[in-house]
Symmetry: none
Subunit: 239 residues, 4 copies
Amino acid sequence: MESSGHVNSQVTDTRLVEERRGQVLRAAVKLFSERGYYTTTIQQIAKEAGVSIGLIYQYFGDKDDVLFLSLKLVLESYEKEIPLRLEGIEHPVERLCMAVWAYCMIVDRLRDATVLAYRSTKSLRADRRALIKDDEIRTNRMLEGCLRACIAGGYMREVNEHMLVYQYVMFCHAWALKNWAFEKKMSVSKYVDEGIKLLVEPFLTAKGKTALASVRLGTGDFKHEKRPARRVSKARAKV
Amino acid sequence: MESSGHVNSQVTDTRLVEERRGQVLRAAVKLFSERGYYTTTIQQIAKEAGVSIGLIYQYFGDKDDVLFLSLKLVLESYEKEIPLRLEGIEHPVERLCMAVWAYCMIVDRLRDATVLAYRSTKSLRADRRALIKDDEIRTNRMLEGCLRACIAGGYMREVNEHMLVYQYVMFCHAWALKNWAFEKKMSVSKYVDEGIKLLVEPFLTAKGKTALASVRLGTGDFKHEKRPARRVSKARAKV
Amino acid sequence: MESSGHVNSQVTDTRLVEERRGQVLRAAVKLFSERGYYTTTIQQIAKEAGVSIGLIYQYFGDKDDVLFLSLKLVLESYEKEIPLRLEGIEHPVERLCMAVWAYCMIVDRLRDATVLAYRSTKSLRADRRALIKDDEIRTNRMLEGCLRACIAGGYMREVNEHMLVYQYVMFCHAWALKNWAFEKKMSVSKYVDEGIKLLVEPFLTAKGKTALASVRLGTGDFKHEKRPARRVSKARAKV
Amino acid sequence: MESSGHVNSQVTDTRLVEERRGQVLRAAVKLFSERGYYTTTIQQIAKEAGVSIGLIYQYFGDKDDVLFLSLKLVLESYEKEIPLRLEGIEHPVERLCMAVWAYCMIVDRLRDATVLAYRSTKSLRADRRALIKDDEIRTNRMLEGCLRACIAGGYMREVNEHMLVYQYVMFCHAWALKNWAFEKKMSVSKYVDEGIKLLVEPFLTAKGKTALASVRLGTGDFKHEKRPARRVSKARAKV
DNA sequence: AATGAATGAGTGTTCATTCAT
DNA sequence: TATGAATGAACACTCATTCAT
């Protein structure tokens, strides 16, 4: 069953397709993010990418394709990078916090692109819009997994998981969407810290709170992107 | 100092300007919401509004003006309608809940328009984008006032008010932005109920919780838009 | 049952539509005839017609529409003008000869346009190609009627009417299609004269030949477009 | 004096040029015939021919060259194949009929290509258009030779040979040009039979008619392409 | 005040042609 | 000799905006 999300290329060499598409998409994400989809022209993308107009049409069917793959690129960043950050972390509370933290970090890096997703997803053809949503849903499921593990492990009381996950998502996206309201008041790290106080802590059990305390003590408030948090040792966590 | 948000009209009769602009803006909000700003043409707006193309240019300077006033119309709906719903309600907890409830109701009614605001605010000229933000900020301040009253009244513990308000805002907007994720699972009322459990209840003091209980008992879970919640009487609230 | 040949116009004023379309089509027929459909640009047509590019798109849906109506204009010239020339002529043989003569005259006047029809009909969308064929068929039927009257009146022996009509049609079109082969050797009148000797005369009965003789004596060999042939009187014709 | 009809090739090996050009031209004639010159791309021709785009430009100067040689291929089919069919036939009447029959057969086989010639000859550069006409003229001269032989042999009365030849040509081409009008009513063979009744028979002398009768009796109405007509023997013909 | 026909700059897209490999 | 990725001029078409009525 062929998904309608497939984008055809005139060129067959897979290596080259990968490379050229990347080159064009980097330019497209940049320009779409800065100026929006409709006010960015193919000419501008070609110039920014350092290729000819014709080349773009060898690797993408039309402008809609470029938008679709641009958005996919952004959404897949979330989907791929969050799990990377969770690798090796085992304590459910730490995993949940790290997931939120990682999500916010990526949103911070792709701030304009995140806004772009909100601005332009509706500009896609319906079938593709659905595929972009699927990407989002997959990322959300990851968060939901973290949340459930907390509840299952007795670190968090029963809550409406679906709703709370969406609060996490909106919280992360808000860093980009409402950045004008936050950027002068706090750093991303502070933002995440405060978010966890509002959206995680209140639902933790006593056991969960202890765990969270370790996380925070051990990590210096999630502050350093480059030196990610040392893990809460299993032993400690279980105490 | 002339505010840059001013939109000029060729026509001087204030009454007429009011009327004609309303006529055009209703059409514009409808079409922009359905199809987006760039894919809606002035020709389509004229047709939908039942006026000529030329007339639009008598009452608006350009297409950007139409978008600006359309978004203002939407943002002002929030700003105006929420206070209306709060009239006569005095208990801080009830006021906070009602504010969230009212916000969600308006978002529900203007679902596409709310999405439009996210899609198209960036399409505005920078000075106008700022004015739209001011509208949003004013609405947010209203929520902040409700929140502060709860804390001041001892119904809620100290929290990062600014952050929590934004969580409320994102929660309300999410009903529109992520409607595809909610509409099959619950009604607006249920959505608000669950939201209050996650974003209000956890921060309430014992006193606050008692108040909330009255609210919910008295209102049938905020379920009926047409017959809005009977107010928690001062007497009761104080118990 | 709406025919698919309908061409929409943004403009509703019938008078104006008639006028503007005529203006554009005259330019289009000229340019298409000279340079062909694909090598004529909308810009060139606009310039030639003395209108803007945008105007063309107010009165025609797309370039295909312009071609369709151009060809229709040409085909309808045949259909309308031949009957005009036959008005008042009653003798079957004279009517047949006059029809061929008239057809050739129109082809002569619309020489390039006739060639255009052969070059470009296939460039039309299939449904419209069929409508153009219908126009041709209607013209052919007129000739067939003339031919049948000759046979019915005993002026011509039995022949395969359908085939002979197509010979007449090809003969008339050939004046345009193979003009390079004829133009230096003879005038249209001479061409028609010779054609009648080859395609009409051989099939005439004795009675028919007598009639033809009168026609030719009376008309000076169909030579003068401006002073069309005096009619063979009924009396004479019957002799 | 270099004829302007020459098409340059980057490749010198004559054998190879012959072969590669044939390969490309077969594809080109097919595609041009089906879709027309302007709507067929070099890319499509390359794909259809199973060669690379670059290769086409090694053997042809530009797209016009491909069209020119495609049309030449078609026109030369007429010029070469008709004489082949006439080989060994000596009786003038039979030769004339066979020429028309052969011409129609080739047109039938190259139906779309014949239409292509009418559509696209004008798309050629003027000098080349003239060369294509020369090909047509040469074919016509062949028919004219057959016709003259009939007259010289006393089988046909004096007629305007030039005009009648063009009627023959148009008749043969019409099988392609107006195929939509004939294909449901008759076979090619029937078409030729009827054509001869209209365009040959009427001009035959008594002697000529006798000859024609033999032809027809001897051949089964020209019906079978595979078993071409047995020749009218000289002896018989002279009777 | 209201109309809507007219304008033309600007955009997405195509495709003949080139050229490095 | 053969390839096919790359190029960019050129075209059909759109739509915000103007202006004569």
